[in-house]
């Protein structure tokens, strides 16, 4: 996680290096983008867009690939938000549930539940949301999150606890039932 990926100074990066970097860091990038946009599909698109631009990149050598990709994806998310483009929400996860014996009612209830939690997450500030995303989507320790967020592990623990409590409050206010 702390590895910023293949560095190169003038020497071209091998495509195999990029693919390996994708395998290792795409989930982390997705989590970071998700904490910014709160939209799983858009976050995935941001990851893909960042790597597509890496393939097309012809500028100065990239020294920190992870930061470069993060910046590119973040800029892309800003552009998309500015354009207010409406993406087609496909209710992520529903397709995965198909064929697992769930009835349409169950799938609908699941989708509704996901939407409610997503909306509640939206009400948190970005740092709180990022801590929760890192913790629960990547299963990172406080120390790992601290490296990304540039603070101490103790501060991350405190922030995590506060974010979880705040989210619980928002969900309770919305009448969310955790069945």
């Amino acid at each position: 996680m702390t590895d910023s990926g293949p560095k190169h100074s003038g020497k071209p990066i091998q495509s195999s290096q990029v693919e390996e970097f994708y395998r290792e860091h795409s989930r982390e990038l997705w989590a970071l983008f998700y904490s910014m946009c709160n939209d799983p599909e858009r976050a995935y698109d941001a990851v893909q867009e960042a790597f597509v631009r890496l393939y097309d990149y012809r500028g100065e050598p990239v020294r920190d690939l992870r930061s470069w990709l993060l910046r590119v994806g973040q800029n892309w998310l800003r552009d998309v938000a500015r354009k207010k483009s409406n993406s087609c929400h496909l209710l992520p996860g529903l397709d995965d549930q198909m064929g697992q014996g769930q009835s349409p009612e169950d799938r609908l209830a699941l989708a509704e539940r996901q939407t409610q939690i997503r909306q509640a997450l939206q009400e948190l500030n970005e740092d709180d949301r990022r801590v929760l995303v890192m913790k629960y989507s990547m299963d990172w320790s406080a120390a790992q999150i601290a490296t990304v967020m540039d603070c101490s592990a103790a501060a991350i623990d405190m922030r995590l606890s506060r974010a979880r409590r705040r989210l619980a409050e928002v969900l309770a206010e919305r009448g969310f039932q955790n069945d």
Binding site: S15, A31, P40, R58
Partner: protein
């Protein structure tokens, strides 16, 4: 929902940390894409040129026979030649001294008489000023010529 540890308000029941833990893990399991597929590499700028690849999109109709292609090429050539020939015909028919059926009229060259500027005398009683002009060397006017009686002269 196993336990509810906190109650900040009688109407709202907060979830415990363990509930939140469980719920958030399940939530992000659903949110995160199952597979991350690297995007198709287009044209690499930064990548090593030895590994550069281009996406190729199959063109529709690529499997058609070469005979079909040559037939179509011949037809296009014939059409081109026909258009060229028609253009040449139009160009030639646009010359000024030829007839053209374009407007349903026949163009013809008109001869312009060299003495078009002077009036033609058709009658001595005409109002032309030429009736007062001498027509012979001895000063005989045109109107005077009408008074000359012509009688047949014996042949010498």
């Amino acid at each position: 929902m196993t336990e509810r540890t906190k109650q900040s308000d009688p109407q709202t029941t907060l979830f415990s940390d363990s509930d939140m833990d469980e719920m958030l893990r399940a939530f992000f399991r659903m949110e995160m894409p199952r597979t991350f597929q690297p995007p198709a590499q287009r044209q690499s700028g930064m990548l090593d040129s030895s590994e550069q690849t281009l996406l190729t999109i199959p063109r529709p109709g690529r499997s058609e026979s070469s005979a079909g292609r040559s037939d179509r090429r011949g037809w296009v050539m014939a059409m081109t030649l026909a258009v060229l020939a028609f253009s040449v015909v139009l160009l030639v028919s646009g010359q000024p001294n030829t007839t053209t059926p374009v407007a349903g009229k026949v163009k013809s060259q008109r001869s312009t008489p060299s003495d078009a500027g002077s009036l033609m005398l058709v009658s001595p009683n005409g109002e032309s000023a030429q009736t007062e002009r001498p027509v012979s060397e001895d000063g005989l006017l045109l109107k005077e010529t009408e008074q000359i009686e012509l009688s047949p002269q014996p042949n010498d």
